[in-house]
Symmetry: C2
Subunit: 560 residues, 2 copies
C-alpha cells in the first residue's frame, strides 16, 4: 500500500486556503499512485482554533470543508482532522476527530481519546474524550488510527488512565497512523521520535506519523513527520520547519520499500548549563523556529514590514538579524533612539549592524521629548530626585516614537525583550515591553548570546562589540544590568530550574545556589506576573514559555 | 446538628493569612456550639491557584496548612478545601479535594468529580476527576459531601457523563454539603440558587452550600452561601460580596430550626436590551462587584493608591467614582491631560467631577510634548497628513505622563476602557489601553451609562453633562465615536450576541441587524484580538469577559 504523508502549514479559520492546500496535495499524491494520503490533526480548521470551536458557525464550516475534500477522494483515501459533533447529550459537544474519506464519502470517523490539557494545550475545554474504539478497514488492511496525544501515554507517570492503542490492538491492526499537531521546543523532535519508536516496539506494527508545520502566533509546529517499519526502523523522515509531502510503500509483511535511514545518536537531555551552552543547545533548530515564527506571524496577519528599536545591545541586534532573515532586509526598519545617557558606541554599533544587514535605519534622538516631559511634570514632581519614573519616561518615549513610525508607515513592532528580563521584570511596560510579537521572550540572555554567535558563524553580522560589551539599559549614567540583576550565568540557570523544571525554593537552594539569591529571584519572578500579563505573544522554543502555556495568578502571595 | 457556613475572602498562596482566618472562624463557631464548620473550595490555598499547583513546594504547603487546621478540630468538625495527591500512578497527580477534619485528625477526604474546564476555569489542567464515591459519617449522620461543579450536572445539555450525587444517593445520605468557589456574573446568584434548590428537590435531603467571597485579580467571588431544608425551603442566606459566618440547626427530620426565608421572584433572563437596560440589569450587584474587584486588587497586591486619567468622558468618570468608593477619595488621584483638540467642557466636567468626589486632581496639558514628538519625527514624517499616528501619539503621551506620576508617587493606574471599545479595537495600545486593572472592560458602553445613573441615584456625583454629551476620544478636531463606530444602542446588542451568546454571523443577521454591519463589526472584533491580548486583567461581571475566559487565536482568519 502506498501511503503519503503531507505536512502542511495551515491558517486557523481560513477554510478556503486550508481546503485548497489539502485538495492539491491529495490530487498530487493520487497522480503518483498513492492509495492513501494523511494530513495532520485538525488540518481543516488549523490548530489551535481555541474558542472559535465554541461557535456553531465555525463547526459547520469545518464540516463543509470536510465534505468538499471528500469530493476529491474518489480514487484515494484521505485522512484529515476536523471536529465532529458528539451525538450523545451528556458530555462536551465535540470530538477532536480524524476523518477517513474515500470514494467521495466519509468512510470512517475516529475520535481522540487523550486530550492534552496542560502547558499551551486546552483540549478538554472543547472536546469529549473517545470512550469506544475501533480500527478502520481499507483495501483489506486494518488501520489503528489515532490522534496526537493518543500515542504519548507511555512511560513512568502517564497523564491518563486509558491507553487507546492497547484497546485498538484487540482488533489486530496491520499498521498505525497517527495525525498530530505537536509543537516544537528544543528537545521535542528527539522526544517525538523516541515516542513513535517506543510505540512501534511495543505493538510490533508499522507507524505512519504526520505532524503539522508552521507557526500559529506563539506556537511553532515543526513538522518532522516519520514512517517506521514493523521492526522500528526509521524508513521515512520529513523535514523540520517546512512543508513537504512524501509517499511510502508499505509491504504486506510490515516492511517498507524505502531504505532504512541512519539515525543520529540522541542528544543528551537538555539542561541550561552556562559552561556548555553551544554544545547542548539545538541552536540551529531554535534559529529556524524563530525565523519561521516571525515569518508566519507576518504572513498570516497580512503584514509585510517590521520595525525594531535598535539600541546597540545584543537583544535588538539578534532580533533584527532574525527579522531580516524572515522578512528580507528591505522589509525591516531599525530605529535608533539615543538619549543623553546613551554611550557613543551604542549608536555606532547599531549603525554598523544595519550596515552589515543592509537594512534601512533612522536615528531619532529623544532628549528634546524627554525634556518636554520633565518640564510638563515639573509642577507635580518639584525637586524630587531622578529615579525610575524618569527612566521609564525615556523607555516609553521610545515606545511612543517607534509606534508612531509603525502607525504612519504600516510596520509591526517586533519586541526584543529576552526571557531573563521578562522573568525578573527588568523592563518598562509600554516602553521596551511594547510590540506585536516577542521574538526572544523565550530565550534566556545566555541563549541570546549563543544565538548571536550562531548568526555570526560564517561572517560577522552582529558587530563583535555588541556581543562583548556589558549589557546596559542606558537609562541613567553608567547603568549596567548587573546593578539590578545577578550575573546572567547565575541568573539564567536559576530561572531555568524554577520556570522550566518547576523546582521550589528549597530544591533550588539544594542545587548550590545562594539561598538569599534564590528567594530574591523567585520573588522577582512572581511579583512581575502583572507585567508579563500585558506582554505580547512570545515565540515558544522551550517546554515552558511565558504566555498562554504558563498561567500564574497575578494577585497572589506565593514566594513573594 | 449545628452547622456553620463560613464564606471567607482568601489570598492565593498566602497560607499564613488563609490558615489564620480559617482557624479563627472555627474557634468562633466552636464557642457558639457548632458541631461542624464548612469553608469553601480550595480555601487553604485560595482559588484559582492556577499553575502554582504545578509546584510540589506549593502542594506541600497546602498539606501543612491542612495539618495546622486539623490541630484545631478537637471538638468541631472542619471542612476545608485543599489539593490532595493522587496515589495512583496513572492520571493527573492531584485531586481537588474536601478535607473533613475532626478530633485533631483527617477524618475523611473527598475528591471532586466534575472539573470545570471552560470560560475562566482550567481544572482538568491540574486535577484528576474522582472515580469512586463515598459518604462521610459524622456524629451518626451520613453526609454527601461534594465540591462546586459536582452539583451542577443537571439540565438539558450536561457537560459531563457522570452525576456524582446520583452515586452518593446509593449510600442514603442524611444531607448534602457542597463547598464552592463559584464566581459572580450578573445572572449567577439566581442561577446558583436555582441549581441548589433543584438538587434538594431531586434528592429530597437538605443542602448546606458554602461559597468563597472576594476578588482574585479578575474573578469576583460573590459569596451567597445558602442552606435549604429537605423540602427545598431556603432557611439560610449569607450576604453577597462580604465575609460572613452563620450557624444553622439541622433537625433530625431534615427540617431546620431557622425560619423559612422569603425568596424574591427570579429576575427575567438577562438580555442586553437597550430599551430596558435599568430594568433587567442587576446594577447594584454589578456596582458592588466592581467596587470589590478594585478593593481586593489593591489590598492583595499591597497597593493603596490609584491614579485615573480623567478625560471628562463617561468611562473615566464612572471609573473614578468606583475607585473612590473602593479606596477612599484621598487615595484616588485624577490627572486631566487636555490637548489642543480637547473641548473646554472636558476639563470643566472633569474638574467638577473631582470636586463632587472630593479627590485630588492635577491638570497637565500635553500640547508641548505632542509638539516635541511631531518636531522630532518631522525628518521621517515629512509633510504626510495628520492621521491615526498623530492621534496615537497623543494617547500614548497621556499614558506616559500618567504612568510617570504613578511611578513617582506609587500609584497604580486604573484603566477606563469599556467592553464596546475593547471589542472593536477602538483604543490605543500603550495609551488609553494602559493600566494595571481594567475596571469597565466587561461593561458595554450602555452598561457604563446605566452605572453612571446608578451612581447618581441619590445625588449628582457624575456631572450631568458627562452623561448627556456625545462620546468622543477628542484626538482630532470635532471627532465623535460615531465617526468610527455604529451607535452604541445598535453596537452593544450586536456585540452581546457574538461575545456572550456565541452566535455566528448568519444567526445575528437573522435577528434583524443590518447584514453589512454585522460583517463589519465581527471583523473588527476578530481583527483586534492582538490588542486585547496585551490588555490588563478586567473585572469580570458577565458570563463572557475578555481575558482569561475568552481564548481566541490572534493569527487566524475567521470572519475577517
Amino acid at each position: 500500500m502506498k501511503i503519503a504523508l503531507a505536512q502542511q502549514n495551515y491558517h486557523i479559520g481560513n477554510f478556503e486556503s486550508n481546503t485548497q492546500k489539502i485538495i492539491e496535495a491529495a490530487e498530487a499524491a493520487k497522480a503518483k499512485g498513492a492509495d492513501l494520503i494523511v494530513f495532520s490533526e485538525l488540518s481543516v480548521c488549523g490548530y489551535p482554533a481555541r474558542d472559535f470551536l465554541e461557535f456553531d458557525d465555525f463547526i459547520k464550516k469545518c464540516r463543509q470543508a470536510v465534505e468538499t475534500i471528500a469530493g476529491h477522494s474518489k480514487d484515494i483515501g484521505i485522512i484529515v482532522g476536523a471536529p465532529e459533533r458528539n451525538p450523545v447529550k451528556d458530555g462536551k459537544d465535540l470530538f477532536n476527530s480524524a476523518w477517513f474519506l474515500y470514494d467521495g464519502k466519509v468512510h470512517a470517523v475516529v475520535h481522540k481519546t487523550l486530550l492534552p490539557t496542560y502547558d499551551v494545550f486546552d483540549e478538554y475545554r472543547y472536546f469529549e474524550p473517545a470512550w469506544e474504539w475501533n480500527i478502520v478497514e481499507f483495501k483489506g488492511k486494518k488501520i489503528a488510527l489515532t490522534i496526537c496525544e493518543d500515542i504519548w501515554n507511555l512511560g513512568n507517570n502517564p497523564l491518563y488512565r486509558i491507553c487507546p492503542m492497547d484497546k485498538l490492538m484487540g482488533f489486530n491492526p496491520d499498521f498505525m497512523i497517527n495525525i498530530s499537531a505537536s509543537p516544537f521546543d528544543y528537545t521535542h523532535d528527539e522526544d517525538r521520535k523516541a515516542v513513535i519508536k517506543a510505540n512501534v516496539e511495543k505493538y510490533g506494527i508499522p507507524m505512519f506519523y504526520c505532524n503539522a508545520v508552521g507557526s500559529q502566533t506563539e506556537i511553532v509546529f515543526d513538522g518532522g513527520s516519520y514512517a517506521f517499519d514493523k521492526h522500528a526502523n526509521l524508513c521515512g523522515s520529513l523535514p523540520l520547519f517546512r512543508e513537504d509531502m512524501q509517499i511510502f510503500t508499505l509491504n504486506d509483511d510490515g516492511s517498507m520499500a524505502e531504505p532504512v535511514l541512519e539515525t543520529a545518536d540522541r542528544l543528551p537531555a537538555y539542561e541550561l548549563d552556562p559552561h556548555h551552552l553551544d554544545a547542548n543547545l539545538n541552536l540551529a533548530q531554535i534559529y529556524d523556529a524563530l525565523v519561521l515564527g516571525i515569518h508566519d506571524y507576518f504572513k498570516k496577519m497580512g503584514f509585510r514590514q517590521a520595525i525594531v528599536a535598535s539600541s546597540g545591545g545584543i537583544d535588538s541586534a539578534v532580533t533584527l538579524a532574525l527579522a531580516v532573515e524572515a522578512l528580507g532586509n528591505q522589509n525591516v526598519r531599525a530605529v535608533l533612539m539615543p538619549s543623553q545617557f546613551s554611550t557613543e558606541h551604542s549608536v555606532d554599533d547599531a549603525v554598523q549592524l544595519s550596515k552589515n544587514l543592509n537594512n534601512p535605519y533612522d536615528i531619532v534622538p529623544i532628549k528634546d521629548i524627554f525634556d518636554s516631559f520633565t518640564h510638563s511634570l515639573k509642577p507635580i514632581f518639584g525637586d524630587l530626585p531622578f529615579n525610575v519614573a524618569e527612566e521609564n519616561i525615556q523607555s516609553r518615549t521610545r515606545g511612543n516614537l517607534v509606534m508612531a513610525i509603525a502607525n504612519k508607515f504600516n510596520y509591526i513592532l517586533l519586541n526584543t525583550s529576552n526571557k531573563s528580563e521578562l522573568a525578573t521584570g527588568y523592563g518598562t511596560l509600554y516602553g521596551d515591553m511594547a510590540g506585536g510579537l516577542g521574538v526572544l521572550g523565550d530565550c534566556y540572555k545566555l541563549q541570546v548570546y549563543a544565538l548571536a554567535r550562531y548568526i555570526n558563524r560564517n561572517k560577522e553580522i552582529i558587530p563583535e562589540n555588541i556581543i562583548t560589551k556589558a549589557p546596559s539599559a542606558e537609562l541613567r549614567p553608567g547603568q549596567k544590568d548587573s546593578d539590578s540583576l545577578p550575573e546572567y550565568h547565575i541568573l539564567d540557570p536559576l530561572l531555568y530550574q524554577y520556570i522550566e523544571r518547576r523546582m521550589g525554593p528549597n530544591e533550588i537552594k539544594s542545587f548550590g545556589f545562594d539561598p538569599a539569591l534564590v528567594d530574591r529571584v523567585l520573588r522577582m519572578v512572581n511579583l512581575n506576573e502583572y507585567k508579563r500579563n500585558q506582554f505580547c505573544p512570545i515565540i515558544r522554543i522551550s517546554p515552558k514559555a511565558f504566555g498562554v502555556g504558563r498561567r500564574v495568578p497575578i494577585v497572589g502571595k506565593y514566594l513573594t
